[in-house]
Amino acid sequence: MSCIEARGLRKAFGATVALDGIDLRVEEGRILGLIGPNGAGKTTALNAILGLTFYEGELRVLGRNPWAERERLMRDVCFIADVAVLPRWARVSQMVDYVAGVHPRFDRAKAEGFLKKTTIKRESRIRELSKGMVAQLHLALVMAIDARLLVLDEPTLGLDILYRKQFYDSLLNDYFDGNRTIVVTTHQVEEIQHVLTDLMFIDRGRIVFSCTMEEFETRYAEVLVRPEQLAAARALKPMRERQALGRSILLFDLKTDKGDRQQLAALGEVRTPSIADLFVAVMGNQQQGAAR
């Protein structure tokens, strides 16, 4: 059984189509990054998966219909939707008590253990905590739940780099065990590149690109082309060319573009591109395609 399975997932708000027939399959044990520009439909897709919004099409999460069975599903699914959605009036201890009260799979000792590693005081009110501390608290609560799917929607937006790094580090070290599935959206793509096992780009309600990270690493290559080789490199029809510090950096798709790694190595230094660069290349080509 796949963790998430969607066929023809569609959602429109009035005349605006947020999801335009998405087919999606996420196996258990994967860490999927859902990347897309603002308004691409990422949050709508996640909301559908979490049973927060009504949708058309077929969708199964852990074998259940999320809209009809949200309550039951939430025993196995956790999510952090946005930073700082914890109730501002609550005390930290009250939050722990409440989640322990309603969630059958919450391990209180574990949550206390995570909180001990932070500077969060038990009797503080959430409105007194910094944004980073709220994110830490939320993560501590979520990681103490023995869930099968964790959905993160921009969980680190607006946090400083220390908190962001810590967030993904503890997620990988203290939570992910190879059985759980994680779906994450973020604009800070570089920070999750090493975390992901799968990658998906979404734009205007459609999935425009999807691959595993192994594929990503073998299929795409970025070359810092030596100036004298530039013409030769361009002849290989790169996906995209950009300039940085006076050097031309060309991005190649080794599956469709001409040339292989050996050829590329002759042109200059070859390395794995960042997700962000591929994203820009894919989106750029998309828009060109749309304009044509």
Binding site: M74, D177, N179
Partner: protein, 321 residues
């Protein structure tokens, strides 16, 4: 891997030892621990959550109770004088005079509870959307029905119970204070006690709370909750303006005021529950039979049910505003 499985506890250690497939099955197949099955637990914690969030539910009646006791402490000086007054020979007058502070206390505490109810009902489904914490509440295995029912039971059970308890404590305090002052002044405490009928007063209070504050006001609270679940901003205006508009329209178009009377009856209503001049009137007779036979009661309860179902549906369909 080792430290990880240690941290995950015994059950997962056992499952980690098996093949990944088996581990998966063990996790999904095992019934969520026994306490997960209980349906009352999420409800109980949902009610507790409301009390954590809206502390005025108990603080406001308590504060009013304290103010009443303090204020009464000042009046106590005059009690011996009042008891010695010739007018006190007239028994009904004596009873009225002596029971007055108790009536005032009960009335004020219930008024406080009513005002808290109105503000609570208007905010309980709106506030969580405004501060977006609804995304957190919905990430937990608590259904929208449970959440809405918990909020409704705060209005229909918790607040009346608190009003009753605070009134009982306040009145007992006043009663003991008065007795002490009378005894210290060499006046008959027995005479004072004989005039007050604590059991009857408390029964009357409970009856009033159940008939008026719970059964008769239920549609009122449910309406406010519906508006709270529906409005994207300014729920108070949305709750008040439409009925007001209907009243004005009716007045201008038909020169009648049926709707105004209907609303008035809802606010001041429940009078079918008693025969007599006032709630704590000793001559008052409870007439539950008459009350239960009032069509308005049942219409009101039917509307309350419809409003609550609609509120739960709205909570489900509506994202954070």
């Amino acid at each position: 891997m080792n430290t990880e499985s240690n941290a995950r506890g015994e059950s997962s250690q056992a499952s980690n030892a098996k093949s990944p497939l088996l581990a998966k099955e063990a996790r999904s197949g095992a019934p969520a621990s026994p306490r997960g099955v209980s349906a009352t637990r999420p409800f109980y914690w949902s009610v507790r959550r409301e009390l954590m969030e809206y502390r005025s539910i108990y603080l406001a009646p308590l504060a009013i109770g304290c103010v009443i006791v303090l204020g009464f402490g000042f009046v106590l000086r005059r009690l011996p004088e009042t008891m010695r007054h010739p007018m006190m020979l007239n028994l009904p007058h004596q009873r009225d005079t002596l029971s007055q502070p108790f009536d005032v206390a009960a009335g004020l505490i219930m008024a406080a509870a009513f005002i808290v109810s109105i503000f609570y009902a208007l905010d309980c489904l709106y506030g969580e959307r405004r501060e977006r914490s609804i995304l957190f509440w919905k990430s937990l295995p608590v259904s929208d029905w449970t959440a809405v029912l918990a909020k409704a039971s705060v209005l229909l059970l918790v607040l009346p119970a608190i009003a009753f308890a605070v009134t009982a404590v306040t009145e007992t305090t006043i009663f003991l204070m008065s007795s002490a002052v009378l005894a210290a002044n060499g006046l008959s405490v027995a005479k004072f006690w004989a005039q007050l009928m604590p059991v009857e007063t408390m029964t009357g209070l409970a009856y009033h709370l159940v008939t008026v504050h719970i059964l008769w006001y239920a549609p009122l609270y449910a309406w406010l909750m519906l508006i709270s679940a529906w409005s994207r901003r300014m729920p108070f205006l949305w709750a008040v303006l439409p009925p007001f508009a209907v009243m004005i329209f009716e007045k201008i178009a038909f020169h009648t005021k049926y709707f105004a009377d209907f609303l008035m009856g809802r606010f001041t209503g429940g009078s079918e529950a008693v025969a007599g001049s006032g709630m704590l009137d000793p001559e008052m007779k409870m007439t539950p039979g008459h009350f239960v036979a009032t069509p308005g009661l049942w219409f009101g309860l039917a509307f309350a049910a419809v409003f609550l179902v609609a509120a739960a549906r709205l909570r489900r369909y509506r994202g954070p505003s």
